[in-house]
Symmetry: D2
Amino acid sequence: MLVVFHCMDVEDLKSGRQDYLSTGFQATNIGRAAELIGRMKEEKAAVFLSFTANMAASGLRGVFAEMCRRRFVDVVITTGGSLDHDIIRTKMDYGIGDFTMDDAALHKKGMNRLGNVLIKNGCYEFLEKAVRPVFERLYNDEVVTSPSSIAAALGSSVSDKGSFLYWCSKNRIPVFSPGITDSAIGLQTYFFKQRHPDFGIDVTKDMKSLADIALNADKTGAIVLGGGISKHHTIGVNLLRGGLDYAVYVTTSSPWDGSLSGARTNEAVSWGKIAEKARHVTVDCDATIALPLIMEKFLGD
Amino acid sequence: MLVVFHCMDVEDLKSGRQDYLSTGFQATNIGRAAELIGRMKEEKAAVFLSFTANMAASGLRGVFAEMCRRRFVDVVITTGGSLDHDIIRTKMDYGIGDFTMDDAALHKKGMNRLGNVLIKNGCYEFLEKAVRPVFERLYNDEVVTSPSSIAAALGSSVSDKGSFLYWCSKNRIPVFSPGITDSAIGLQTYFFKQRHPDFGIDVTKDMKSLADIALNADKTGAIVLGGGISKHHTIGVNLLRGGLDYAVYVTTSSPWDGSLSGARTNEAVSWGKIAEKARHVTVDCDATIALPLIMEKFLGD
Amino acid sequence: MLVVFHCMDVEDLKSGRQDYLSTGFQATNIGRAAELIGRMKEEKAAVFLSFTANMAASGLRGVFAEMCRRRFVDVVITTGGSLDHDIIRTKMDYGIGDFTMDDAALHKKGMNRLGNVLIKNGCYEFLEKAVRPVFERLYNDEVVTSPSSIAAALGSSVSDKGSFLYWCSKNRIPVFSPGITDSAIGLQTYFFKQRHPDFGIDVTKDMKSLADIALNADKTGAIVLGGGISKHHTIGVNLLRGGLDYAVYVTTSSPWDGSLSGARTNEAVSWGKIAEKARHVTVDCDATIALPLIMEKFLGD
Amino acid sequence: MLVVFHCMDVEDLKSGRQDYLSTGFQATNIGRAAELIGRMKEEKAAVFLSFTANMAASGLRGVFAEMCRRRFVDVVITTGGSLDHDIIRTKMDYGIGDFTMDDAALHKKGMNRLGNVLIKNGCYEFLEKAVRPVFERLYNDEVVTSPSSIAAALGSSVSDKGSFLYWCSKNRIPVFSPGITDSAIGLQTYFFKQRHPDFGIDVTKDMKSLADIALNADKTGAIVLGGGISKHHTIGVNLLRGGLDYAVYVTTSSPWDGSLSGARTNEAVSWGKIAEKARHVTVDCDATIALPLIMEKFLGD
């Protein structure tokens, strides 16, 4: 593990690309993450990408879309909220504000704050309209549907090339969302079900197809951004095959409270969710900063 | 908001109960949380309790059980992992280790690490056996079930008075788990479904009963421990009624990356998930320390 | 390290004292810290207490004072800001507000915010008047003084039994403050020196007396609250003796950026600042919550 | 504050420079920091740079050196540990390891761990030899010296162009280090003083020259990396002039415990350490990642 340590110098900065690998602390982990993702691709691992909804509300949406356009990833696992934002942003703009705005004043103006990102109420009205015909179609096709079917139907209903759902649909990359009802789209199912009481979302329907990807791959790798259900679902399914061969976590959460969101890659080794011999790294950084840096060499041409 | 500030003094320590409210920083927020929960109860608010799976693996499980035994809370929202741990611990002991143990060595010994809590593989073998007959019964009753039905059935299958599921079942406190398949129990549904292909879990089934609680209550309050899907589902459903009247968050996550897990109560005000006029506080602390302190005066007799 | 894990139960809560040790996560570390401090005292270790200025502005000031009154600690290492707050609060009250107040509005009102603690400008005017005669006396005694002499002189100038400086002075507990000029008191030296250009603070004067404590003790232990210069100075001097025998850190900082403030006790073992055979624990928690819990059994009668 | 929000797209990635400003969350704050530093320079503000010792042990040392070589900054405020690392690294290499190495094993090998950076004991033996003649010269010149004189003498004793002390010395950029004795160099003063009892470091000697910079500048700006004494000293001296006109903080610490290290720029506004009308931003990120990104456009040619 020990390497000689050259400090980042002017030449590194001039070359337009810092040599993060030999900079120490989290910069080194940025470098290791990039190296490890390179290895995943070289070895043709099935690549799992998981992220949280706030990231789909940020500029990372474009990076996700590009990763899916290039078939850089084979599976996406995310929350219902990511589907919300991805669909809304096919037509609507979000704003940038600040983390310390007056939230009661924002509420009065019909403005929802997500960190320093601002989302007008109108965005959710748009979503409602956009989603309803998709549900109608799904329902006509199959009364009880699944999260991955919803994601695929949403993706094929839009034409925005900045949408990851669009590219997943086009490139047949499955999008799993085991907690899909916890979202604005989920809330729509509540209203939809009032009109169609037999409508349902059976979350067990997706389990075999997800498991098969993990079981059938020669190697698997994961890029896990943030925590929560998407993170756990990604590593959990890899338990079935004896663990991931490569894992990159990007997180800002702390491990000291035993939370899954803050757990480092090491912890997953004890569970067999990452293999004992796997290569893995945890980058402690906001993904809006880390992901573009890590992906630069893969998407930058 | 400004109060005169007396320093904690020897008398406070001697009395066996620190006056956290006037201590400053997060100690003050512990005091405010206790005060606010007192208010929820006085005003007979419908109280939502949400927590993450790691907490059910900790000593907090006993606190949750006691809160449910006393009907201190009206709704529980949690992850599938919480159901896992609650059922396992009706019969099996967990160990305490350290955050920095050698995870490959632990894996070789069949020991899974969750922060500094250790769980033997045997625990999950026990779970498998415990859960199978419950699924059989549910399936015979209704081919496509719901998360809350699974939780209720699990609760009525055990007799451990340290189990929150036991008390929820006995006291008819609904337990919602919108992401239930992301868990060991969820993994069992994958195996169960291989034998019973028509078995399913329809997550839309729980939406009306959860919504009705929010819609029918005069006042609502929430005790939200940790983040993730349980946190969002708790505040999300309260959007339907114009927001929670009282909210206590306990979190160790940071808001600066726009994550829901790190979001303070303020942010939810902009969304209408907490009412503009609500009283609310965010305690930045590990719940294993914070919750016993906050609940001491309510459970301590 | 592995112990059987009983969950915290109702009886624990009823007894008025949670069994934090067996609760898991940071609650366990609270329990371990208390145990380890008990051990320090049993073995008559020289006990170092270090803390940051914000803590002296909080209710912890009373806990520090009590620890010094009882001679529970043998050395205090802290910043100049701690001296500021300790002296101001002998006569003036601080207020409690909130972390999200409007800072420009506060500034207009002459109110300084320290987290959720509020300090009027008048407090610093009081400090100026309180400190000047102390400087005059010190200067008449010795033209070039030292941080520990300033702390001792300040302590003997007040009579407030809630002041840790008062008790340190009375009980001849040395208070080291290697960065003393970085404070309001330090700013006063700037003005004082304009009138007395030969006045000075020689920070090397304190080094031998501090080193002697570490070198002459059979055993040493440290209670290190927060980070910064006080933390490092405490462990740094123990390098001279081959490391601390006992160490308790309480911190909210993260180790992932290589900062000293976030470094766990482990890291200090590599440096020989904590002995290889030492017992040590890092509690990840705000000290305003953690310290009263840890010290309860020692100060609670 | 509200701007239209375009998602980062493929073109941004292709151009080799992400448009962080419009990405949301901390990426936006990276963009704002760069913009604000540009403004500082345009308005010819006196620029204060403060950082912690760990950063001088990382690849950032080269960035600091370059900033000083170009006279991009006018004042440096840092800890004694930064002087240690800067001098050691004029001749010795550091290694990169991992955050989770076995610290007792490292200690046995004479290897000190600083996050994931590794430093051999030999480095400190080198430092001892390098520093002694500098102290002799300083002592012959003036029996009682000051931190800034030590820093200048150290800088002029080396010829490594990767050293920030070298460039500060050459370009007459003063380096202040109010807590200088808390370091390996400080420890050397303890040994030096045993041979020369009248040797001393008077920390009040630097106060006027530091204050004069703040008082005489038309505008001041600060780039504050990390926390501790260097951060506070930087903003504290700007109180004398009614506050900084521009401030960029980069921190990983949390504000919720009232610590100075975690305090956002807002808090300093209440104290008058940052002016009410100032422009300021807090970037929540490890400086090894953030600083190269922020400085890229200024140093990248």
